[in-house]
Symmetry: C2
Subunit: 341 residues, 2 copies
């Protein structure tokens, strides 16, 4: 059993905690949290041992009637690996603590690439991080692009990739974010940082990305163009992508036009929090002409990296190989929509 | 004096009426409207002769206390040219009426290309429509792309253009449109119809476009990639585009991050309805690497075609050449932001 501690219990942390709990080869040591908010309350109700992420705040948990198992350093000391899901930038500050306890750690994509010794997407580069102690699971958008590009690179070769990332302004709970009724170039500079981030996974890849921000909260939408080195048909590309467990090809008959219906489909299916762990690709959008592939994919910013974190744990702390880890993660979490149709 | 009639007095019609009134070489014969709504009220207050677009509705105008000058056929008969700004599809039905009165007509981009004998963007193909009687001013998005591509084609040559069009869900007054809190591939099929529409202006151009629809009402946003045949610097491209009167290069110091501030800038400048007749291009977004140009531009769907309609009138009904017409239109309407900085 791999003993997993989670430092940070927000959008990603709480999902990783549930996913780790579902793994037969992992044990959740506990989760660390800074404040006794609604998420801490849920953790307590689920019976997850709760550690105070900031020492002198333990009193606040007491006041809220939430029992604390200890301080975050105890969690770090008791774990084989820490998944750091703290807000962007805090992970980098935490690395020294993990090093002091000689505990390997997995950081998130909000951190700069140099927070860790390697970046990770299970389908793309699982083996490359196996000897490392500090690894970064890349951001939701980078994960989504990498998962799509991995099979395309292997099967056809990629000459150049271009993506326009139309990003949700904030998560559903981030009520202080914008924009309202506007479409912002974000960042205004081109290429955006997303392209270079994908290159932490595929260093040789030629990719340019542009970002925008719009008044939506549910998912990101990518308009993707990939100039391939060979010239498959759209149908061949569709079949290639359909075979990938973390790519969901939305069938035309599903009558799904956007993130709203995708989320509703996931909720109807009983998925936790209505999560969509897969890239959601409109099958009908896939078009290829003279090696120029285009498609639309929606990316659930809150959850697509969750199975990646589970696989990263195995890559760092076990001998399980990539295919086996992905299969175990998918099976235990319920990743993959194909069989439902 | 060119006698101009306008059939349809909605978003585009009312703006074209004002723009025609501002031209020293044009006379507004009148405008035709189906219903005595708030726009008809404004037309009456401005003293524009109002014609009933549907014969048996004249009584409704009487009831609303709005005086009618006659029926639309009288307007068509009394005009040298009709600008048809009726809702999409109605223009095609109207063509027979214009033919019956041997009155040339200008249609809008909501109509199929075959409604007319040629499509029009002043900067791109003014001369090509001069012997025609029926011309279509292309849509706001096609106009915006064509204006941008015209100087790039002339100066550098264009190998391939790609654009992701993130479109406003509806105009500010279209309260029955969506989406709310979603990002929709729209159309899901790729390439979208916008690329072929640009080819009505540049038949030889290789262009692919993708469309999305988002919860915003103010302007469209284009993420544009143009693979050029030569390799200018970003600064050279910036200077080239800055010299175009209908391209507004948003300077960094203006501190404009989206459509909201663009509109506010136009309103502060006292522009009618806060209109932005120019493509609004973020100067800072312009980047070029090995002939691959990227930029963001915002397109005001309600107004960018208005100066084009004015120029189309001159192309059909006068000997004025393209440069002179564009200059007159710009001068009389106040197109061009450059001098304000």
């Amino acid at each position: 059993m791999i003993r997993v501690g989670i430092n940070g219990y927000g959008t990603i942390g709480k999902r990783v905690a549930d996913a780790v709990t579902a793994q037969p080869d992992m044990e959740l040591v506990g989760v660390a949290k800074t404040r006794p908010n609604f998420e801490a309350d849920t953790a307590a109700r689920k019976g997850y041992p709760l550690y105070a992420a900031i020492p002198d705040r333990a009193g606040a948990f007491d006041a809220a009637g939430i029992r604390i198992a200890g301080e975050v350093t105890e969690l770090v000391g008791a774990s084989d690996v820490i998944v750091d899901t703290c807000p962007s930038g805090i992970g980098a500050q935490n690395r020294a603590m993990y090093e002091a306890y000689q505990t390997p750690a997995i950081f998130q994509g909000g951190e700069d690439a140099d927070v860790a010794d390697g970046s990770f997407v299970a389908r793309a580069n699982y083996d490359s991080v196996r000897d490392l102690e500090y690894v970064r699971v890349v951001s939701c958008n980078t994960t989504g692009l990498s998962r799509l590009l991995a099979p395309l690179r292997e099967e056809y070769g990629v000459r150049k990739a271009r993506a326009t990332l139309v990003r949700r302004g904030g998560d559903p709970g981030q009520s202080d974010r914008g924009p309202i009724n506007d479409i912002l170039p974000d960042p205004v500079e081109i290429p955006s940082h997303h392209g270079p981030d994908v290159k932490t996974i595929f260093p040789e890849l030629d990719i340019d990305t542009m970002g925008m921000k719009v008044p939506a909260t549910m998912m990101h939408m990518h308009g993707v163009n990939v100039t391939l080195e060979s010239e498959p048909t759209a149908e061949e590309v569709r079949e290639l992508l359909e075979a990938e467990s973390r790519l969901f090809l939305i069938p035309e008959e599903a009558d799904i036009d956007g993130a709203g219906k995708l989320k509703e489909y996931a909720l109807d299916a009983g998925r936790p929090r209505g999560d969509l762990w897969e890239n959601c690709i409109w099958g009908r959008s896939i078009s290829v002409e003279r090696g120029d592939l285009y498609l639309f994919q929606a990316i659930h910013q809150e959850s697509d990296v969750v199975p990646e974190n589970v696989d990263a744990i195995r890559a760092l702390c076990s001998d399980v190989d990539a295919d086996e880890s992905i299969a175990r993660t998918d099976e235990s979490m319920g990743v993959g929509f194909e069989s439902r149709f």
